[in-house]
Amino acid sequence: MTPVSETVTSAPPQAAPKPTPAPKRSKRKQWIKRNLPPILLISPSLILVGVFVYWLIFSSVGTSLTNNHTMPQVMGAEEVEFVGLENYANLLRDPDFLHSLRNLGLYTLVFLVGTMFFGFLWAWILEKRARFEGFFRSVLLFPMAVSSVAAGVVWRWLLSPTEGKNSSGLNRIFESLGLTGLENSWAQDSKWGILAVTIPAVWQLSGYVMALFLAGFRGIPNELREAARVDGANEWQLYRHVLFPQLSPVALSAVIIIGHMSLKVFDLIMAIAGKDAYQTMVPAIDVYNFISGRQDYANAAAVGVIMLLAVLVLIVPYLVHTAREDKR
């Protein structure tokens, strides 16, 4: 790198901008001078994001509109034809895929409600000046630092479906406490198995939502509370009319962040139930199963696009909302 620095150092110094109104050419020069560095600096990320995000989304949409379902087609030995929305139509008529969507909906709903509930509860308790706040904050936030796969492996064991004498994990605890009625097959329950997976998910991200809410609480000036008290508001009224409205942007961010994570859930389910388990099937695992072995690129892309649309449904209103707020 030394030679490069040498050249830079020996370059003639640029003329300083003149205080008088400059002729057109030097104005352009000035514009370049002001804007070229930021454009240059931002262009690598723009190009990378453009190619590796937007172009790939575009190309996935393209693939999802073809009949590229087999290995010979992927390898270019057989024709790939445009089939329009046929893959989407077939997927949305397939009871197994609808079952994946239903699982995803259930999972997202319970995951959202669970993290919001526990996140808010913990933040509220800590806000009430619980002792050792720093300690509890770290402890509650810590599960987020554990990778989903590592957590999943542990939870896989905790959620072991074996009941009775040979049980392990949570069922073992129930067994030894004599609470045999609470033993169940967890993630292998044929109808509600997916909800068992929300337990580790809520465990993992409630702390994060707590941190968001805690920041929200801290951002409310004390004067507001004092003013409300002076006006004779009781505790409930204080929360209902002063604190909750102040927290709503935080709550909205939390819903968006948790919601879009939830729609993409993959690692936790792979670690707990595996790629084949029907009762915990979600679209992200469908994508994996379409690609793996079968090389069915078209259907995998179609499911991917459906997932993207689901996330957009959640995020676009949020972006519109924040854009409006910013303008105000």
């Binding site: 790198m1 490069v4 620095s5 050249t7 830079v8 150092t9 370059a11 640029q14 001078k33 070229l36 560095p37 240059l40 600096l41 690598p44 087999t70 290995m71 010979p72 992927v74 390898m75 270019g76 030995a77 057989e78 197994d96 079952h99 896989r156 072991s160 479906p161 074996t162 009775g164 004498k165 040979n166 097959s185 993630a187 292998q188 044929s190 109808k191 198995g193 707990i272 139930a273 595996g274 790629k275 084949d276 388990a277 029907y278 009762q279 199963n289 690609i291 793996s292 072995g293 079968r294 090389q295």
Partner: protein, 419 residues
């Protein structure tokens, strides 16, 4: 300004560096890059034995191990993406049979008929086996080893405990087998009568049930179209499968096959139906055949050899064709097949290998291979295509989860077969 230039220069230098790195050096030595999913245990040792033979026969060829772990999915996906990018290894592992069709139809593997002539292989392999690597009269791969899928493994201590004679477990029908499963369940409810692992091992069990209930001819008919998969016979066989599944452990989902074997070793399970890669696990844990474990053909399948075979190919545009040829010579040779199979625990695909120093189980399996009726495996790509196998796995997972009843399962099975 000075900083801007500096940043730009650094950026340009970085791009240049990335460009040169991407170009990668191309060399043309005498090499053979071989892609397998034999990365652990007895399989990896077998591959090492093959390298030894390569060194003896072709000392000028350097072996490059292109191995990727994960036989079921990930390894084949890595291979597929390499083939799609026209970056093939010099030779890769493929199951003989319907699974090969994908590679053949993709135009990614070369016709090896000339090599068969050159190496004198035309009579070295059984005809049933050669059929599985042949399409339109052209042979596309060289088989290296044969595994038997329809084997039942049993824990002798567990059987003794529940009062079953371990010398009497060659069941003529599955109903006889179910009677004993019931006996185990009654004697000790903490023992799993029949152990299974993840979905594919359950499909493996299903295939032995189909062979037992339908007989080899009708079983083969499912794949060549002469047996109606939606017919009542197949439906009845699936019913038997349902009964068998009620004797299995529930903590199986997402586990690999060794999980089910381990239950036998730990004294928690009595029987397990799995291919004959199982003995490697027994041997690894110092379990002795005849004292700790024993085997029999899967119930109702005595006299049938449900097989799968690994084979090696020559990809189109292999970067080192000479290395590839040397490797295939090793695979095809008597020395190579003996060295490899002895360690891996399978039996040689060639019929003229001296088996006197092979294990007791291998000798018994080889004897069965020579005289039994041979059928191709469903789960392991000999009889069913990847798409059929995938769809059957999906149907079994759904059935196992309790989200389809027997008649829905039957309909989904039939649809999986006909596509």
């Amino acid at each position: 300004m000075r900083r801007t230039r500096y940043v730009a220069a650094v950026g340009a230098a970085a791009l240049l560096l990335a460009a040169t790195a991407a170009c990668g050096a191309k060399d043309d030595g005498n090499k053979a890059e071989v892609f397998t999913w034999w990365t652990t245990g007895s399989e990896a040792l077998g591959l090492e034995a093959l390298q030894g033979v390569l060194k003896d026969k072709h000392p000028d060829i350097a072996f490059i191990n292109g191995g990727t772990a994960g036989g079921g999915g990930s390894a084949k996906d890595v291979l597929a993406s390499r083939l799609a990018a026209n970056d093939p290894p010099d030779s890769f592992q493929a199951h003989a049979g319907a699974e090969m069709l994908d590679y053949i139809n993709s135009g990614k593997v070369q016709d090896l008929s000339n090599l068969y002539e050159e190496f004198g292989l035309t009579t070295a392999f059984p005809a049933d086996l050669l059929d599985l690597v042949t399409k339109d009269g052209k042979k596309y791969s060289i088989p290296s080893n044969v595994h038997r899928a329809n084997v039942m493994w049993a824990s002798i201590p567990v059987l003794t405990e529940v009062g079953i004679d371990f010398n009497q477990i060659t069941y003529a029908t599955i109903s006889d087998f179910i009677a004993d499963l019931e006996k185990i369940k009654a004697a000790n409810p903490d023992i799993t009568p029949l152990t299974v692992a993840g979905t594919w091992t359950q499909v493996h069990l299903l295939e032995t049930v189909l062979i037992a209930e339908l007989g080899p001819e009708m079983y083969n008919g499912i794949w060549d179209g002469s047996t109606d998969p939606a017919g009542p016979e197949v439906g009845a066989a699936l019913g038997v499968f349902e009964t068998l599944m009620s004797y299995t452990n529930t903590d199986s989902e997402g586990e690999e096959w060794d999980f089910a074997t381990q239950k036998l070793i730990d004294g928690k399970g009595a029987f397990n139906i799995m291919g004959d890669w199982v003995p490697a696990q027994f041997v690894e844990q110092n379990q002795i055949m005849g004292t700790d474990w024993t085997w029999a053909p899967a119930p109702g399948t005595a006299g049938v050899f449900d097989f799968l075979a690994d084979s090696f190919t020559l990809p189109v545009d292999a970067p080192h064709p000479d290395g590839a040829k040397a490797w295939l010579d090793v695979i095809a040779s008597v020395e190579g097949q003996a060295a490899f199979n002895k360690v891996k625990g399978s039996i040689p695909a060639r019929t003229d290998v001296n088996l006197s120093d092979f294990s007791e189980y291998q000798q018994q399996a080889a004897a069965a291979y020579a005289q039994d009726t041979i059928v191709g495996s469903l789960q392991h790509g000999a009889a069913a295509s990847i798409a059929q196998g995938d769809a059957i796995n999906k149907a079994v997972a759904k059935f196992r989860s309790g989200n389809s009843n027997l008649s829905e399962f039957h309909a989904e099975f039939a649809k999986a077969v006909t596509g």
